[in-house]
């Protein structure tokens, strides 16, 4: 695949720019003596997870999201560095600002990657290949880290291209080379194919994207369902209608917790769900958003992970309501003392509170749980996070060292009052 100045980049309006081993690279920049060494970023406790690893460490088989213990066994000489999210966010801001100087059509996917639509920049800055080359040089100059850029006529192929040319690479997939490029890839490369779908495809004998492309659409739809079947078939022929959506607003807010050791006590899980629900609701309120869909995530000791979600009839930013749904979703899993490693609660389908119509409930109290939680927010601003919280979440060991109950703790804060404000 040509990647030099001669590459045919006509029609390749999409760039996917991805920092190489972002957190680890930033750490190496900060501590040059680490250059060329295996470096792992992440918590060093026995439950820590690798959030980023240099390519020297990856050579040992380490990858991100791997438990730190396992990573250290694979790569015993690695230097472990705790993460510094503030620094990474700062570097990210600089990079995104650089992108926006090229085009306003920048869609950040996370701190370290973004899609750019450079169709409008051709006259001012040159073709996509030139822009990509320029970005790579500027990122290295300004931030001291390297990145890889994929250039293609669709977002999805651009992202695949950047993955293929990592690290420190540039790959243009010309319009007439898309099919050849795609069809050689394994099915897992398709956007939307996770472990389960990959298994289903393997059962059909489909291992490469080319094989998917040459399977009749009805066969795929029968095996995978109408939507996913059509989606994968379109992708396998390089069809992807998505455009770059600048300033993608936050689509979801959530938090998750890895237990310090696996938990099989439903009461402990329930308490954690309550804590995560309260935290999520607090973040919703401070973001000025209401959520329409609540989802939970449960990861078991063997790393198998389930997510379940439910769409509410009435959007909410109330921790107690999020907790009720999260509990119902968890109970519906019907787990019988399974060993759980991590639980998470997420609020999705966000709408700005000020613009959201709210379906009112018959017989609801004038001042309900929401007012109570807002009062807790105010207390938290004065006395610190967790100044007021459900009694279930009070840590029995630290309870005596806590300041006396701040004035104005609302009645409704006791979890015994579950939903009482909504009963008629």
């Amino acid at each position: 695949m040509p990647a030099g100045p001669d590459a045919d980049d006509a029609g390749c309006r999409f760039l996917h720019v991805d920092m190489d081993a972002f957190f680890a690279s930033v750490e190496v920049r900060r501590r040059p003596e680490l250059r060329g060494k295996p470096v792992l970023v992440g918590g060093d406790g026995n439950r820590g997870v690798v959030t980023s690893a240099t390519y020297e460490a990856r050579a040992c088989g380490v990858h991100s999201a791997m438990p730190m213990g396992r990573a250290k066994r694979l790569c015993p000489h690695a230097v472990v560095v705790p993460g510094d999210m503030r620094l990474y966010a700062e570097v990210s801001k600089g990079i995104m600002a650089l992108f926006r100087s090229i085009t306003p059509l920048v869609e950040p996917l996370s701190l370290d990657e973004a899609f750019l639509d450079v169709a409008g920049a051709r006259r001012r800055l040159g073709g996509p290949w030139e822009i990509a080359t320029w970005i790579r040089a500027r990122v290295e100059d300004e931030q001291g880290i390297t990145c890889s850029v994929g250039v293609a006529s669709t977002k999805f192929v651009a992202k695949l291209a950047s993955t293929r040319c990592k690290p420190d690479g540039l790959l243009v997939v010309p319009v007439d080379g898309v099919i050849r490029f795609l069809h050689a890839l394994p099915v897992a490369a398709l956007w939307g194919v996770g472990v389960r779908t990959e298994e289903q495809l393997t059962q059909l004998g489909l291992r490469s994207v080319g094989q998917v492309a040459n399977t009749p659409l009805p066969t795929l739809q029968r095996a995978l369902g109408p939507a996913l079947g059509a989606h994968l078939h379109a992708l396998s022929w390089g069809k992807d209608q998505r455009v770059v959506v600048p300033h993608e607003p936050e689509k979801s807010i959530g938090s998750e917790e890895t237990f310090s050791s696996d938990v099989d006590d439903p009461a402990v899980v329930s308490r954690e769900l309550l804590r995560l629900s309260e935290r999520t609701a607090g973040r919703l309120r401070s973001a000025g958003a209401l959520s329409r869909t609540v989802s939970i995530k449960v990861r078991f000791h063997d790393f198998t992970t389930l997510t379940r979600s439910r769409t509410l009839r009435v959007s909410t930013d109330v921790g107690q309501e999020i907790f009720e749904v999260a509990s119902q979703l968890y109970d519906a899993l019907g787990l019988d003392r399974a060993r759980i490693r991590l639980v998470g609660v997420r609020a999705e389908g966000l709408v700005p509170t000020a613009e959201a119509p709210v379906q009112l409930l018959l017989g609801a109290r004038e001042h309900g749980r929401r007012d109570a939680e807002q009062a807790a927010d105010r207390a938290a601003r004065r006395f610190g996070t967790g100044a007021v919280r459900p009694a279930t979440l009070l840590d029995p060991r630290s309870v005596s060292t806590r300041p006396a109950r701040p004035a104005g703790t609302p009645e409704g804060m006791r979890p015994g009052g579950n939903g009482a404000d909504r009963r008629q």
């Binding site: 613009e355 119509p357 018959l362 017989g363 008629q424």
Partner: protein, 385 residues
């Protein structure tokens, strides 16, 4: 067992019974319909062996239809209800011969002949006993009242107390009420109780009650059966001349709804129902899920508004007879349409207090036949800004 029967008669009875069969039966026999041609004297004064009962049961709801047949020999057979319903529905218009032949049931009709495997009759649970008769109600009144109220029942099984319709007996008055917390429908009507002065209250699954009220309209009256020992047996029965059904009652506390009914209003509007429904349906086309239809009442009538700049807007003005200070209030269009369709009069009266308090829909004139004492409370959507 061997008998001959009119095709329509058999098909109707089987179709009705099959409707209450579980889609995923906990045990295989519950997917069956029991055909029983007993040699005992039939009910309703029929000659021995001339009436066939067709029964279905899923531990929640039992159904039993009795039909006239020309019997040749008595007996019982249990066969797949779904299959039997599909077959009887598709038979040609000729008399049907049904016979049990060893482990098979044969159905012959015109030139068509079916052979079905039977299931062991001994494994079939016995149907719950019909509770004692509580009284009778005109079947048309009952059907109307139940449909007016059940529309407001909740469908969320995690809140079981809201999936039921509350039935209150107070002497010769019946009250039905249901709410899903967004709306509340209440209907009162008269009936003929078996014993005067009796009071009782039960919570009936809305789905079973609706089904019973809709399908027991074969005769002029429906008999309600409820054990007189109060909440005792947890079963309620409904019967018309040839059909009877029982349903398990919900063991949950219904919200105290009477205090929610507003006693006074600050403004009222009277609007023609048919035009109102059409207008709401039209403007709701642009309302995304979860977004309201806005109603603005004033001297110039009623303006309906939905949507916004992103998803498109719709606006329509219709006539309304409004008394009070101008008012803008938002409703979930589905909840509003449910209420407008349930008043069953040409004109609806909406009574308001404030835009954040429930509005009440009643029929006009309130004392017309079939619409006395129906109230549909609907909780508004608080509009942004």
């Amino acid at each position: 067992m061997k008998f001959r029967v009119e095709r329509e008669v058999l098909a109707d009875a089987v179709a009705w019974t099959a409707k209450s069969l579980p889609s995923r039966p906990p045990v295989p026999v519950l997917a069956g319909i029991l055909l029983d041609l007993s040699s005992e004297p039939g009910s309703g004064g029929r000659a021995a062996g001339e009436s066939l009962t067709v029964s279905g049961f899923d531990y929640e709801v039992s159904t039993q239809a009795t039909i006239d047949v020309h019997a040749q020999s008595a007996g019982r057979a249990l066969v797949s209800g779904r299959l039997l319903a599909d077959i009887t529905r598709s038979l040609p218009p000729h008399p049907v011969e049904v016979a049990v032949d060893g482990p098979r049931l044969t159905i012959s009709c015109g030139s068509a002949r079916f052979t079905l495997p039977t299931m062991p009759v001994e494994d079939y649970p016995s149907l719950p006993m019909m509770p004692t008769t509580a009284g009778v109600v005109a079947s048309a009144d009952f059907d109307t009242a139940v449909s007016q109220v059940a529309v407001a029942a909740g469908r969320d099984d995690t809140l079981p107390m809201l999936t039921g319709v509350r039935l209150e007996i107070d002497g010769d008055r019946l009250t039905l009420a249901a709410t899903d917390r967004y709306r509340l429908a209440v209907r009162e009507f008269g009936w003929t109780p078996e014993q005067s002065g009796r009071t009782a209250a039960v919570l009936i699954p809305a789905r079973s009650l609706s089904e019973a009220a809709k399908t027991l309209t074969g005769g002029p009256e429906v008999t309600l059966a409820l054990s007189s020992s109060g909440t005792g047996e947890g079963i309620m029965g409904f019967s018309s001349p040839n059909r009877k059904t029982t349903t398990r009652l919900l063991d949950a506390e219904f919200p105290k709804y009477r205090s929610l009914l507003p006693v006074e209003s600050a403004a009222t509007a009277e609007v023609r129902v048919a035009g109102f429904i059409e207008a709401v349906r039209r403007v709701a086309l642009v309302a995304d899920r979860g977004t309201p239809v806005r109603l603005s009442f004033g001297d110039e009538g009623l303006t309906l508004l939905a949507g916004g700049d992103d998803e498109g807007r719709a606006e329509e003005q219709i006539e309304a007879d409004f008394a009070g200070d101008p008012l803008t209030i938002g409703f979930n269009p589905t909840f509003l349409l449910d209420g407008l369709s349930a008043v069953h009069t040409e004109t609806v009266r909406m009574s308001f207090t404030t835009p954040n308090k429930p509005a009440v829909l009643t029929g006009v004139p309130a004392e017309g036949p079939g619409n006395e004492d129906y109230r549909y409370l609907i909780m508004p959507v608080r509009l942004p800004g």
